[in-house]
Symmetry: C2
Amino acid sequence: MVQRKRVTLRDLAEHLNINTSTVSRALSEKSSEMISPDVVKRVKKAALEMGYKQNAAAYALKMGSTKTIGMIIPDLMNPVFPPIIRGIQSVLDRYGYTAFLAYSENNEITAHTEVERLISRGVDGIIYAAAFRTDSVVDLCKSQGVPLVLVNRVVDQGDVDTVKVDDSLGIKMAVDHLLELGHRKIGFIAGPKNISVSYIRLRAFTQTMAEHDLEVEPHRIVEAHALSEDAGEKAMSVFLGQNSDATAIIASNDLIALGCYTALRQFGYTCPKRLSIVGFNNMPYLDWFATPLTTVSIPHFQMGERSAELLLKRIKSGNLDFNEEVLLKPKLVIRGSTAPVVRRKKKSDAS
Amino acid sequence: MVQRKRVTLRDLAEHLNINTSTVSRALSEKSSEMISPDVVKRVKKAALEMGYKQNAAAYALKMGSTKTIGMIIPDLMNPVFPPIIRGIQSVLDRYGYTAFLAYSENNEITAHTEVERLISRGVDGIIYAAAFRTDSVVDLCKSQGVPLVLVNRVVDQGDVDTVKVDDSLGIKMAVDHLLELGHRKIGFIAGPKNISVSYIRLRAFTQTMAEHDLEVEPHRIVEAHALSEDAGEKAMSVFLGQNSDATAIIASNDLIALGCYTALRQFGYTCPKRLSIVGFNNMPYLDWFATPLTTVSIPHFQMGERSAELLLKRIKSGNLDFNEEVLLKPKLVIRGSTAPVVRRKKKSDAS
DNA sequence: CTGAAAGCGCTAACAA
DNA sequence: TTGTTAGCGCTTTCAG
């Protein structure tokens, strides 16, 4: 039963005593109509029986299209990416495309290398969810003529197809929520500023505060060295050391917010009693948490879908001189980590 | 700057006025030594300058190896799979292999179809983390001569390379833990019995109980229709309806355990006060939960690594008539969802 | 409606 | 050490 060699078109042709080109045409949706129905039926039957599977490498070599695309994300462990990936694949599947998955590990060099590997694999396009504010990957794809779509990260260069959420709006909703709860002394735990979302969210924070005539003093803003739990914890420790009077903070993403929880506990504070926290992303399972995190929810799955649609459209058109921007709306999810500010009369709850 | 056509070996050869085969050899690690060092240097320089990237399709067609493998998992949303995938890729990367990711959605037909697609893509092997107890994918791979490794699921057929954890040991540790806490009336929320882990874990449960002379009555065992939160909730509702006196349950996996939390709350009960719960898998973020789940931890990342190593070994050897079984050890992680049994004197805590 | 033949880009056996 | 050539499996133009 073990057949080490795969069945080819020629095997089928010889078996049926017809030409390989006839077999090819009979099996192809778009050219089977130029073959007599009878032959088509016989070919399809034989193909099934003999277990014929098209050789993708040969097809790719001949046609110049592999029907594959590459996805690059920072890190699969960050729970926001699985739904994005599924969104991408759900539309890819409908068009017979398959995706390679690669990781930037939040490192531009790594990302560049991975993109080169993907190009060598002959991907028809790339979805890049890990771009830095200035990113050599953009130029690389341009110079190689490979369609590129950015997801949830933008690039200073401009001229790139992009699918993103309105981060500024998300932050505005978070700030407004805290203001309504009576908070005025609000801090921000930012992400690395070479990452576009970090930069944009921080800028939106200061802008929104300014619109409410609330000046943000520099010590109210601390930059974490990564968009991770660990980095969030370190940054929040610094923040608490110099902001004993703050009553709320916004974190650049959920993982940083979790780090803030940890730092808060180390200082003997509780959330939301002593300090309210808002995250960004709405990662899974937050509802189960001891302190369920209030956060800005973004449509992960839909982002994936839209980016795949955009990429396929670009691949089909072959026109790379044009670019498009898809903007999705975020939503505030209010949970237990935010509460009305309490006017502390005596010594507070710092037990 | 936009070069729609990629640079080929021939472009390089013509540019340097030498033969394509010379260029090929100069660029290949294993045959560059039969070319004069001077030429090698010139070729490499030109390749870099002109942005040459090997055409993977042509290589695959010529060599009969795509240097890709396929991974099939039930569902990316289940948080146990990301670390397994990363483990697989960490070893694949070292050998220049790339992976396709596909989903069975816990459906054997879907799995079969996806495997066919992967084979058509020419994958050199397949890692299958979604097998059912009897599974046509195994025969498919055998008949097509495609190396296959099973991860965390086994198959009744036998004769397949497998990487798994000692589920029976894990369940035994869970039972022992509950017994030590004084529980005797212990229930089990099983997964679908056509999935091997569900079957094995349930069997291990009844066996371990029997070894302690504790007979398990049938109504103490309820089968969820899937290894999911939702299915767990439904099953637990049934269980609670017919087991008002049980003091502890073991769930077939963490997601089912979460569903049990929900059902428990709907019945007005609390965990662990009224009922202790143990899960299986140790998914991420459990420490943050309002009721942190006691669970059996399995080495996800390592499972991925081992399965990739096994698959590459099998690909290299070309010998499919031999099979191996890697068995990994689980570990019990005790958290807040389990507590000593309390002798209820009056009306309990059913508030 | 079907066949013959070329060629996608690469590697390797064979020649020189 | 380098060149010549064939061919991997497929699609498609050009003939018939």
